[in-house]
Symmetry: C2
Amino acid sequence: MTAAANQSGRRPTTSRRLERAGIRDVAAAAGVSITTVSDALNGKGRLPDETRSRVREVAERLGYRPSAAARTLRTGRSGLIGLTVTTYGEEPFTFTEFAYFAEMARAATSAALGRGYALVVLPASSRHDVWGNIALDGTVVIDPPDQDPLVSELYRSGVPVVSDGKPGNCPVTAWVDNDHEAAVLGILDHLTESGARRIGLLTGTSTDTYTRLSTDAYLGWCDRVGQEPVYETYPAHDPAAGAVAADRLLARPDRPDAVYGLFDPNGTDLLAAARRYGLRVPDDLLLVCCSESDVYAGTEPPITTLSLKPRRIGTTVVNLLIDAIEGVDSGTGVDVGRLFPPRFRSAGTGPPPGTLMPTELIVRASSQRRSTRTTVSPPRSPGEV
Amino acid sequence: MTAAANQSGRRPTTSRRLERAGIRDVAAAAGVSITTVSDALNGKGRLPDETRSRVREVAERLGYRPSAAARTLRTGRSGLIGLTVTTYGEEPFTFTEFAYFAEMARAATSAALGRGYALVVLPASSRHDVWGNIALDGTVVIDPPDQDPLVSELYRSGVPVVSDGKPGNCPVTAWVDNDHEAAVLGILDHLTESGARRIGLLTGTSTDTYTRLSTDAYLGWCDRVGQEPVYETYPAHDPAAGAVAADRLLARPDRPDAVYGLFDPNGTDLLAAARRYGLRVPDDLLLVCCSESDVYAGTEPPITTLSLKPRRIGTTVVNLLIDAIEGVDSGTGVDVGRLFPPRFRSAGTGPPPGTLMPTELIVRASSQRRSTRTTVSPPRSPGEV
DNA sequence: CGTTCATGGAGAAACGTATCTTCTCCGCTT
DNA sequence: AAGCGGAGAAGATACGTTTCTCCATGAACG
């Protein structure tokens, strides 16, 4: 039996079952070779339009669907992108960051689909069990902790990794983050303009980038302006602790006359605490919190919020990742050499390219003594990366 | 060159690049055959523990990761499950059902991961572009419309499909749904017990299962009890229309003294409308709405909600799907015959197996004149499917 | 008239795994 | 002594593509 015969007419022993048509079946039915079918369907090769359309028609008639697995094996591309939150364990999403994460994930999914990729939501834990069984073209990592072993291993094995949140020590292909410093400074300026004399901060105990950069920006501002820092911290993943911390902040002897809360529930918590202490908002206390929720448009009074624009972040992250996947990738040592002669490339030691995205301050009644309503984007500090 | 030599020592022309170690490399390094490596790592075959552990150690040292694509191609299993919402177009998730969908998707993701599968979120539209490029072992479909071509095609091509929401006409492997009729009847009973004389309904215009079954249950109840139906409909995906409809309902000459709203925002909308008309809740108007949000625990007054328990649904759907994938699958004509002799199987015409899950009524102040707080599960009507 | 070139297409080699089949020992039974 | 059976492991094939290489045929061209 020649190889050709083996190639075209097959399945000698097993009785032909009810199986999906393969490319061979299409080729046989159309009276052409496998190559021609592949080229015709993928728009490659040089074929007259007549052949192309005929093959397409036969394929359609046979209900032919190319095997994704075979294609992935051959091309090395699966069209799949991993999405993971590494900061907090277990559950794939975290309640605390839910609104942000949900929006971000939604935008990321849309952006990926728009470019022909699909997203797979994966937990940061359970490494090989799941991660190893999926062919991923790349991974989006949200807020990776320093030295994340998962990210390191992915990167080392050549999978492009783009992180949402400036990474600490783990190497990534690229990263995207908000300009948290500019955001905080913008808020502090805004509150100052609204007449705040002593601005307090409600922040978290964890060491993720967001918390750290925001708190540092606040402390630096205090230092420059000459205000004594007034802040309370609590574990951000614990909603109950947030309410307690809000209360603590307003119970201090050096009670602030304006507060910025870093986390989504801080707005309502601070509002409730203020009520308990008989403080009117905004008259006695100016309030701003970071949130993606629009319930703050309906509170009494409406609360000024900082939006991190998760949609924009998600879209940007995915586009960067897909660029890295499809472009001349700057992975560890993957060969580019066949097309381009070896040339100088920054070899791993240089910092990965980062992108800072502006935030948006949605000014509502809680942060202004006069009753104008405007939307202000904090100025980007031009010297930043 | 013998085939054996070809098998073990390869890559003659291309200079050995920085590539991931394959199973061949492990075999060579361990001095055994590919078969032995495969068996050792997968816990199959008959190998002495010594060989097994040695192979494992070599694999570890080489950083060997089996190729997911190759494994998928060989075994026909990818470990990937699709998740899609088909009801409303474009965006992968719909705002209206967001809380429900998010919870359900989260639970589904967890359940899948617990069994070694990962979830891929896919849009119902853009058929071949994306769906065709991913090897899916099965698909979860949320609320498929009647005659959904996507579902039909998936099912026809042998991919198990389990739907959240009883499907209309499309064939599915199995489905899961809440016992919407029991839920509505439970609410109507509860409201009646709280003193309601004329119960109104705020419902949707779309024809999905949830809306239809709930509305029918209401109308049937009215018919039995002898109450004239009092209801307003609006397109559920339009939040603004919801507020208007709530207002319409309370503006009617035959104004109800109790209302059940089928959709998440109805609670606040009805509360606002009641306020406009000077109606006190629960004194003048009893209120219940279907929602997964816990904001209704904090409204003034707190509003009784019906929870569809999306976590439970998501978990159940995924487990049913994976059972179908791994068990003796009842797909169209896929062979089971190699292991079991042909035998009588219900061949497609029988209705797919469905599971009804109970809902949970979280009773709060808005639906009771007396101020006790309890949680009541509506009784399941035993005669139902 | 011989050489190049473009066109249309076929052959066959991977991609990396799982698994069915076979082979070789070697100790044991009858 | 012959046969048997099981342990341990290797051979080889198939999974279904993509793609690199190569072949045939004419037409254009000098």
